[in-house]
């Protein structure tokens, strides 16, 4: 323990930032707690300039002492690639901070804000005087709390574009009325529930307001274990020392999707992971998999995976096995919850796992840093960790009964919004496999495109597409000309501005619907129309969809009387596929600087034609 600390400090001193980061991660895995958090945060501050971390600013509005949670959160965030700066507001000053446009909250310009206020503080009458209140008083108190929440959320939204994470109200561990509480529908717990339902409605009326189910969090860990009455009375800290880490992890679950540091695919092993035993030795009748113990543990894990795939997480297999043996189980075993069609990619062979993971990322067209790896074998996990440090390795307990919970707890699979595309993603990848298969039977690209009967539809932004458009700006790295990231709130504001146009493109063909796969955001200024954002999901790169969308932009800009269409290409480490986009479509270079290059197209001289094999519906 002391040795690892000394090693980390000498690695930092010798300038080996990546090695120091890996050792710090090991320390954090084994010693997660207040002391290790302080150690990690101090070293993270020395390393921040040498690692590519995402700076992110979090403000916390609170009614209790949260300071000891901050290092825990900053340390956890550090290992998700987030360099977190945190500002904590004064005790119970949240209302003024929200309402005053010039408060320290807004001056901090946070990316996200946590509102952490206890039931006992915001509704002290309902919390401690409930037994003395008349039904009218109870009703009035509950309306007062809901109305305040409504007012604060609205005021916050008017003043800031930041995401807001609102703690809901926790139930008392011991209700004022004792057993009577459960006998009446006007009881204390019903009132708290009612306020929480109102809070959900309030959050749904705005963009970027998210409810943190604090009541469920406390219940999950046990109300009596969670609370520490003595520390509340002495230092205004109501949460027990060993529970603080759970509060920080719950905050992290929001920060991971908010910063886009999510895992898009889950890669699993088979033997002793999806089932108990080794198929090559135990055979299909010998492995443990079914509704009874011990096979039930593996079924639970498979059910979690099915839930994740409904959330848009792609599933893949990477296993050292004879493919025939393993496929036999996947296709025929009566205890399997998952079947081959649930997996977007199967790599069952005897090759090195790091090599297989690289190929899986390539086949799924996602970055290696978007993979999460779940394997019961610690040796395999360590080898992948060493060979591919970008992969998120899920640390798995010994006991298979804990597998399912471990997977559910992994923050990389959290999502804050779900689009139709997320829910159909696995089907889309299955269609993609059929498409690639068909492509090989055609002589020319044009013949294949004609055969696909590709149709593209340009759609303007509305409530249904807003989340997907924002998501595409946040997640698309490869075919993205400017890589500007927008939140839902920002997209909504651009769409409402008459000088801006926010468009997306939906593509379908004979094999299925790709959903919304491209976004273009433009701004009219003088006689020019500037392309602020132009991106395409990697699923449809190289299918001329980008030309169809650009063609639409040129026609609509000309129809609005613009004479020039122009746009920047801002190079990043990942967007090389978009580099030639403007020159290939006849744009001329206007200027070149360290940030990128500016291109323009003269709409008075020519138009950009839509490829004839795409049917475009504007």
């Amino acid at each position: 323990m002391t040795q690892l600390r000394a090693d980390i400090d000498s690695l930092i001193a010798s300038g080996s930032a990546d090695a120091a980061y890996r050792c710090l991660a090991e320390l954090w895995r084994t010693e997660k707690g207040p002391a290790a958090a302080a150690f990690v945060v101090a070293r993270a501050e020395q390393l921040r300039d040498q690692l590519s971390l995402l700076p992110y600013r979090l403000a916390i509005l609170r009614s209790f002492t949260v300071e000891p949670v901050v290092p825990l959160l900053r340390a956890s965030a550090f290992f998700f690639g987030i360099d977190l700066t945190v500002q904590v507001g004064d005790f119970n000053a949240y209302a003024q901070e929200i309402l005053d446009r010039d408060s320290s909250l807004y001056r901090f310009s946070p990316d996200a804000v946590v509102w952490a206020v206890r039931t006992a503080d915001i509704a002290s009458d309902l919390w401690q005087d409930f037994a003395h209140l008349s039904p009218d008083d109870v009703g009035a108190a509950s309306v007062r709390v809901s109305d305040s929440l409504k007012q604060w959320v609205r005021a916050f939204r008017e003043r800031s574009k930041a995401a807001l994470i609102v703690h809901n109200l926790e139930q008392p561990a011991r209700p004022s009325l004792g057993l009577l509480d459960a006998q009446s529908d006007g009881s204390q717990s019903v009132k708290v529930q009612h306020i929480n339902q109102e809070l959900r409605k309030i959050a749904a009326q705005h963009h970027g307001i998210y409810v943190l189910d604090y009541d469920a969090l406390v219940a999950r860990h046990g109300r009596l274990r969670w609370h520490d009455e003595r520390k509340w009375l002495t230092v205004r800290m109501p949460v027990a020392a060993d529970q603080l880490v759970h509060l920080s992890e719950e905050w992290l679950r929001f920060l991971v999707p908010l910063t886009g540091k999510i895992s898009k695919a889950l890669v699993v092993d088979l033997d002793n992971t999806l089932w108990g035993g080794i198929i090559g030795e135990d055979g299909i009748t010998g492995i443990q998999l079914g509704a009874e113990y011990p096979g039930a543990a593996y079924q639970s894990l498979q059910r979690v995976m099915l839930d994740l795939s409904r959330r848009g997480v792609l599933l893949a297999v990477c296993s050292k096995n004879n493919p025939e043996d393993a496929m036999d189980v996947l296709e025929k075993h009566s205890g399997m919850v998952l079947r081959p069609e649930h997996f977007a990619c199967l790599r069952i062979n005897w090759a090195d796992k790091a090599k297989n993971l690289r190929e899986i990322a390539e086949e799924l067209n996602i970055g290696i840093d978007s993979l999460a790896f779940f394997d019961d074998n610690p040796v395999e996990r360590e080898q992948v960790r060493a060979a591919l440090p970008q992969v998120s390795i899920i640390d798995i307990p010994q006991d298979p009964l804990s597998y399912a919970a471990t997977l559910r707890d992994f923050p990389g699979f959290e999502r804050l919004t779900l689009s139709a595309e997320d829910q159909q993603r696995t089907d889309m990848y299955a269609a993609q496999r059929k498409r690639s298969h068909a492509e090989q039977t055609f002589q020319s690209k044009e013949d294949f495109y004609h055969y696909l009967e590709q149709e593209a539809e340009v759609v303007t932004v509305d409530r249904a597409t807003l989340a997907r458009i924002a998501q595409l700006t946040q997640k698309t790295n490869q075919f993205n000309l400017t890589t500007r990231r927008y939140s839902e709130q920002q997209i909504a504001e651009l769409a409402a501005d008459p000088n801006w146009q926010v468009l997306s493109i939906r593509v379908r063909d004979r094999f299925g619907d790709h959903g919304l796969v491209g976004v273009a955001i433009t701004r009219d200024e003088g006689n020019a129309c500037e392309i602020d954002t132009f991106l395409l999901s990697c699923r449809v790169i190289g299918r001329d969809v980008e030309t169809a969308l650009l063609s639409h932009l040129s026609q609509s800009a000309a129809a609005r009387g613009r004479q020039r269409l122009c746009g920047w290409f801002l190079p990043t480490a990942k967007n090389a596929p978009a580099r030639e986009f403007y020159p290939l479509h006849g744009f001329e270079l206007q200027q070149n600087n360290v940030k990128g290059s500016l291109w323009a197209f003269d709409l008075q001289k020519a138009q950009i034609a839509c490829p004839e094999w795409i049917k475009l519906t504007p």
Binding site: P34, P68, A240
Partner: protein
Amino acid sequence: MTSPIFEQIRTIASDLFTVPAGRITSDSSPLTIEAWDSIQHLNLVLALEDKFSFQLSTEEIEQMKTIGQIASLVERKLQTAS
């Protein structure tokens, strides 16, 4: 004074106060360690409770004036618990 418990407490104090463990002795106190303020004292209490899975009473927290006193307190508590 180099019991395993003392070593563990020294590591915790070194983590929290960002002071090399070698510079922490049983006489180290808020008077000799600059970073040991009231917020860090709370963090120290939390780190001890988290590490050793016990709770410290208000009286016990008041007794925690030096690293040496903390180490004997922790040893006493662990003995009575087992």
